[in-house]
């Protein structure tokens, strides 16, 4: 790399451009120089003024390029197939009563238990790929083996993506600009195509359709959630998705879960909504910091789910009538 010119470097590894941009280094006009020659053109005053350290920047550039190459290679190399939780102990020091819990891609597992019972700790154990080194003593295996430390430390390749009711868009961008930005940061080869794909998926989830030029901050609650879910399903690199409740209004939650599962995600969902909890095939019951039961959704419960979904449809229809200014029939 050291003897490549900037032009050669950018041709070979286009994502290098973002390194220069984020470090406020304007390289236009200097393409025929090597990175070291480019940094050497700053005077000592300029270096001080801009708080630049050429040696560190060169080392950082090399590291950045290496990380990006790794990141690009990862998707193909080692797809996640299973996530295994090995038991630890609850807050009282009691061993958790299960042997090993293995979740597969495209599986939905719900998590139930009172507030403060230890749901966050379980999610944190998974996020950190705990190896007996957290308060619960749990261990996490990926594809039946202790995980590569990159899951813990890489900023671009996190094990877990999270969706919760409290999350909002804060960027001052249109839906199009927002998706474009995310696609670029993910080094997606075709941002335009993936933007279209996410839009189609999001509009299938949202009660009311929205357009590409809508500012993300002016989307309704349901539309925001639909866009977040579609974007996480299709564009996030994380193979596991943790969901902390999905609101009922303005979004088709069944389809939302189907979308995540269709993208080979493992979905863990903390919820007390029976419509969601019963959509999972298994549910973990958490109490006093430990997983105290692993229940498989029974045929009777699945039948119950059918009834609840009918009720839900009645309420949704009434809501729709109200919105249209009609009388409830």
């Amino acid at each position: 790399m050291t003897n490549q010119t900037l032009a050669q470097l950018l041709a070979q590894q286009p994502y290098a451009a973002d390194f220069f941009k984020q470090n406020k280094l304007d390289i236009s006009g200097f393409e025929q120089l090597t990175p070291a020659e480019y940094l050497a053109h700053f005077s000592p005053e300029e270096l001080e003024d801009r708080a630049l350290e050429p040696e560190r920047l060169l080392a950082d550039l090399a590291l950045y390029l290496e990380q990006m190459r790794d990141f690009l290679g990862l998707d193909e190399q080692q797809p996640l197939r299973t996530l295994t939780i090995l038991p630890g102990r609850d807050k009282a020091g009691q061993a958790e009563d299960f042997e090993r819990l293995t979740l597969h891609t495209s599986e939905i597992v719900s998590i139930v238990g009172p507030t403060g019972s230890g749901k966050s700790r379980l999610l944190a154990d998974i996020e950190w790929a705990a190896q007996g080194d957290t308060p619960t003593g749990r261990r996490i295996l990926i594809n039946d083996a202790p995980p590569d430390p990159q899951w813990r430390y890489s900023s671009r390749h996190k094990l877990v993506a999270q969706l919760s009711q409290n999350m909002n868009f804060v960027m001052d961008l249109t839906v199009q600009g927002f998706l474009q930005l995310h696609a670029e940061s993910r080094l997606h080869p075709d941002p335009a195509a993936v933007t279209r794909e996410i839009m189609t998926a999001a509009n299938r989830l949202a009660g009311e359709a929205f357009a590409l030029d809508t500012p993300v901050t002016s989307l309704s609650g349901g539309q925001s959630r639909a866009l977040m879910i579609a974007d996480t399903a299709i564009l996030s690199a994380s193979p596991i998705v943790l969901i902390d409740e999905i609101e009922n209004a303005g979004i088709d939650r069944k389809r939302a879960l189907e979308l995540l599962v269709a993208q080979d995600k493992i979905v863990l969902m903390a919820t007390h909504d029976p419509l969601l909890a019963l959509m999972a095939n298994r549910r973990l019951v958490i109490n006093n910091g430990g997983i105290c039961q692993v229940l498989t959704t029974s045929p009777a419960e699945k039948a119950k789910l059918g009834q609840l979904q009918q009720l839900d449809a009645v309420i949704a229809a009434a809501r729709q009538q109200l919105r249209r200014g009609q009388r409830l029939s």
Binding site: N23, L63, T134, S155, A161, L163, M167, L181, H182
Partner: protein, 233 residues
Amino acid sequence: MNLTIVSGPPSSGKTAVILKTIAALKSRGVKVGVVKFDCLYTDDDKAYAEAGVPVQKGLSGALCPDHFFASNIEEIVRWGKQSELDLLITESAGLCNRCSPYLKQVKGVCVIDNLSGINTPRKIGPLLKSADLVVITKGDIVSQAEREVFAARVSSVNPRALILPVNGLTGQGAYELSTLLYNPDLQVETVQGMQLRFPMPAALCSYCLGETRIGQAFQLGNVKKMDLGEPEA
């Protein structure tokens, strides 16, 4: 004693994260104390004292808080040793984003928050660029995509740092952070002779020395003028 220097823009969640981290360390029997550096005002000392954490505060007043930090850190470390702390954490608010309080041989942590906007990593200088660990807070209120873009940008300006999301409210991630901050085998006896990671600006102008009058005639020392180009006719 271990020493950790925590810095970051105002209100980024430094105190919230430090308090949650201390709670995790306490449960492992580690004694932690904090020194808060600020410019004009802080209530953080009360928050620490309430949590039973030995605390000192230093207000730099008319001085640059980071310069003030550098002038006081040696005595602070002595205080920590005398108080028999296992870990001393300093918290200072990065104000102008140009200075940074990190020392070469001491772990430096930068706390920034997802709400500050995706261009923030680019705007913060050595405070972010030369940190060993970057803690990103307030991920609980922005979308997954925004968290990913933000973390990617942090990593572009500081690829060697470990980046850790921590929720200052629930403490999610704080236990993990605590394992990276305290190492019983590591002992700092004194910081005398240690070096700042990044030199602070050498600027000293008339206004640093108390000048209040505006105008070229009153400007001495390190004076820098904007380049305004030609007037637009």
